[in-house]
């Protein structure tokens, strides 16, 4: 007797019900197993998984496997599978729901910690930089450029300038670990004559709470950022990337 390819003794399908409820446009049942998703996914093969297998396991109700595989954290949620899928199956959405099903304290610590750090201050910085730290670094770097780089005595890096047209955010990496990398951006904005500002609140461009799939924290971060832009009366939320 050969082993059956699939052991369906443990069919639970609770997760499938959740997918059908929370992703009403997820098209789980339209998957015709063509494998286009798996063929174009860099995570194919990791943990002996791929997007096609993952969708099959969801459809077959293999909840134990679906909810225990660390593969959902080895997917970068890049959505190339969704983009390529001829039936518009929301594969990445299912990966997101599987991430949510992990108890928070068992999710990858690095992602959860980055989310927690962002909740510490209204800056939303995943590296935990405070409002004062950010303003200090910006002003310090600006002063140095004005003093040491001829022709840039008038360079600006406004903070909390009410009514500025652009609200520029900034990944924490620059102010925290390589502040000189902000200067080229400021020079470009200066030459373009852009009316812009940073805000001490909400400037952190990154958001690991989404990747941690902590929905409450994700929503909190987005609300803080949106309020920061609106409180300064800015017209455009401008991302550096």
């Amino acid at each position: 007797m050969t082993e059956p390819a699939l052991d369906l003794k443990n069919q639970k399908a609770e997760f499938r019900k959740k997918v059908e409820e929370l992703l009403p446009n997820g098209n789980l049942n339209l998957c015709f197993t063509c494998g286009t998703c798996a063929g174009g996914c860099p995570a194919t093969g990791l943990e002996n998984m791929d997007p096609r297998k993952f969708v099959r396991m969801v459809a077959l109700g293999l909840d134990d496997e679906v909810l225990s595989t660390p593969w959902v954290w080895m997917c970068s949620m890049c959505m190339r599978c969704n983009y390529a899928c001829p039936m518009n199956v929301d594969i990445a959405g299912m990966v997101g729901l599987a991430r949510q099903a992990w108890p928070r304290d068992q999710r990858p610590k690095g992602i959860v910690n980055s989310c927690d750090m962002a909740l510490k201050h209204d800056t939303c910085s995943a590296m935990g930089a405070s409002e004062e730290d950010f303003q200090f670094v910006v002003e310090d770097v600006l002063e140095e450029v004005r003093e040491t780089q001829p022709g840039w005595e008038d360079l600006q890096a406004p903070v909390n300038k009410e009514g500025a047209y652009y609200y520029l955010n900034q990944n924490s990496r620059e102010p925290v670990t390589e502040p000189d990398e902000m200067v080229p951006l400021w020079k470009i904005l200066h030459l373009a004559g852009a009316d812009w500002t940073y805000g001490t609140k909400g400037w952190g461009a990154e958001n690991y709470c989404m990747f941690a799939q902590d929905l409450e924290a994700w929503e909190h971060i987005v609300r803080v950022k949106a309020k920061a832009v609106e409180d300064l009366g800015c017209k455009v939320w401008l991302n550096t990337e």
Partner: protein
């Protein structure tokens, strides 16, 4: 960018501002003549560049139009003949493997395995520099070079714009290779 756009929608948060990538503005400002970039610095050097399409910006947000804007900026700055695209590209490009929290997840071996595709794509262009206009892409592509001993450099777009404008300061060159480290100083 994507987390804010998707979050505003998912949680039904009302807002009254526009959401833009500065890459769209770089292109606009070059067209308007506000950023007088040119590629003369690279006419004789012929340093080759490729560019990564960040998933969050291209496939997950503004699609091929923003990927075209990105290429318009890059070509204006390094010279059209010195730009070599990856295959596949734009909305079909592969993720570098730095997104989704991967860099923070602790699954380093898996992340390198995942990134092998991106590494091969970059090496197949033959370019000396990969422009990575996203922080996660920049970190991952930089790390892939270290891990697989790629021999290429990973740079931010703002570095090259300022280099082509002749305004890149001495302390703003951390990611340039020795061939460009002192250019225009």
């Amino acid at each position: 960018m994507y987390a804010v756009r998707a979050g505003l929608k998912k949680f039904n948060i009302p807002y009254n501002f526009e959401i833009k990538s500065i890459i769209q503005l770089y292109a606009q400002w070059i067209r308007e003549g506000k950023l007088k970039v040119n590629s003369d610095w690279n006419k004789d050097l012929k340093v080759k560049f490729t560019v990564q399409d960040p998933c969050q910006l291209v496939r997950k947000s503004f699609g091929d139009p923003v990927a075209d804007e990105l290429r318009f900026v890059v070509k204006a700055v390094v010279g059209e003949e010195n730009f070599i695209d990856m295959t596949p590209n734009k909305s079909n490009n592969y993720c570098c493997g730095g997104g989704g929290g991967y860099l923070q997840s602790g699954y380093t071996e898996a992340r390198h395995h995942y990134g092998q595709i991106k590494f091969n794509q970059i090496k197949n262009t033959g370019a000396t520099y990969c422009i990575a206009p996203c922080h996660n892409c920049h970190s991952q592509i930089h790390d892939l070079n270290d891990h697989f001993d790629g021999g290429y450099y990973t740079v931010h777009l703002w570095t090259l714009i300022c280099l082509s404008l002749g305004i890149l300061g001495e302390n703003e060159r951390a990611y340039l290779g020795p061939d460009l480290a002192e250019l225009g100083l």
